[in-house]
Amino acid sequence: MNILRGAWVILAKDMLIEWRTRARLNALLFFSLATLFLFSFAGSSDTSLLRQNAAGYLWLAVLFASVLSMGESFRIESENSALDGLRLAPADPRSIYLGKAWGNAILLWTLAVVLVPFMIVLYDVSLTMGLPRLLGTLALGALAISAPGTIHASIASNARARDVLLPVLLFPLLVPALLSAVRATALVIEGDPMDQLTSWVRLLIVFNVIYWGLGFALFPRVIED
């Protein structure tokens, strides 16, 4: 059983569970929408300012939702010690990491994509550089959140105060990735007269490579004795 095949099995399992508990996904979506709304109330109602900050609001909403969804992703594993069951099957811990992290990334990307029309309406933005570029940028950001998020969600799920601990552990680590994702998304929305998008996208790719590499290498140490 090679690592990729195992990862696929675990990814499929997680997707199946998400489907069967899709009521929870709806709740997550409404939570993100509420967050998007609240940001506009928290700032001034100046529409040009809202438009400028739209990308930031979108990513913050996704970030907050990510903590909930990644926490849940590991709650189902600790509920009946199912993660131990996977380990003992045997499944390579790296397969478990890849499967769960990709699953989290897909979920976050889907959430971000669903939020886009709401962002367009609430903050009066347009997709200046086109939808495909936006989808790609959202994907890179989702991957960059999921890679460190998955490993730290695993750590937090076994510690006390797990709900508080995950954002405490994760948010400082995500600053560079989040910054790049927001900047890149803002450029895709507003337009890129000085051709900076490539640089930000490149940064995002570098972050992804580093985070995924670290996560892949270190996850076995986290879940194995």
Binding site: P148, I151, H152, I155, N158, A159, R160, A161, L165, V168, L169, F171, P172, L173, V175, P176, L179, S180, R183, Q196, S199, L203, V206, F207, I210, L214, L218, R221, V222, D225
Partner: protein
């Protein structure tokens, strides 16, 4: 150019020296608290004399007058924070390679010491920014990175508090510290890139007056001794705490039971 090389070599030598010193010295410090105290006293003396020098002997700076003098605290504090946290990274990696409990205590001690100096650095930086640029905060790469670093290592200490099993605590905090240490340069680069689009800040990078240079070096060494004092004290606490936390190997009973 030559000065740059000399400085780099000296700093690296100090760093490596610190690494070795902590590895062997901290364990000694557990049994000999007076040794630890000596560093504290030395550090205090150097710091007091260093501050005196910085406040009264060093000349006022051309652009900022007397306001700049806080940088004799701010810069060494930042340096020590980065020293401590880079050492934390090495100790964490070492702990993952070989479960040597000394490394875990060293990692914990250096993280806390780094956090203390980091807070000092950010606070003094903020106090300095106010009269200089009119704001309490600027988003320049150094200050921003330092702030993220503080929040991050606060998280490290929170993680250690919330994990009860000592073995898991050691492994998980080491894993997280590695993530954090790799991440810090990324924070720096991304903020630098972000700021380069907006505006650049000016800081007094070039110090030409020898009295200023001496004052800075003196204070740096003072803070180095204080760093050693903090790490050794904290190491001691960590080691003693662990002794109560982890029972020694059980005695073998004379009567064996073989199934």
């Amino acid at each position: 150019m030559v000065t740059q090389i000399i400085i780099t070599v000296v700093v690296t030598a100090i760093w490596v020296g610190l690494l070795a010193f902590f590895y062997w010295g901290c364990e000694r410090g557990v049994e000999k608290p007076r040794l630890v105290g000596t560093f504290g006293i030395l550090g205090l003396l150097l710091a007091v004399s260093g501050e005196y020098y910085g406040l009264f002997v060093a000349p006022p700076e051309s652009a900022m007058g007397d306001v700049y003098r806080i940088f004799y605290v701010h810069v060494p504090a930042d340096w020590m924070a980065f020293m401590a946290l880079s050492l934390n990274f090495v100790f964490s990696v070492a702990f993952l390679f070989k479960k040597n409990w000394r490394m875990d205590s060293l990692a914990e001690a250096s993280a806390e010491a780094g956090l203390v100096f980091g807070i000092m650095g950010v606070c003094t930086g903020s106090i300095w920014a106010r009269p200089t640029w009119g704001t309490w905060w600027t988003w320049d790469p150094r200050l921003t990175t330092a702030a993220v670093l503080l929040i991050a290592y606060g998280g490290y200490l929170a993680l250690r508090r919330f994990v009860d099993d000592p073995e898991k605590r050691g492994v998980w905090s080491a894993v997280w510290a590695i993530f954090a240490a790799v991440d810090l340069p990324l924070v720096w680069f991304s903020v630098k890139f972000w700021r380069s689009i907006h505006q650049t800040q000016s800081t007094p990078e070039t110090i030409r007056d020898p009295r200023m240079q001496w004052s800075l070096r003196w204070n740096a060494f003072a803070f180095l001794f204080l760093l050693i004092f903090f790490v050794m004290s904290r190491y001691r606490i960590s080691r003693l705490a662990r002794e109560t936390e982890m029972a020694p190997p059980p005695e073998a009973l004379p009567v064996g039971g073989h199934a």
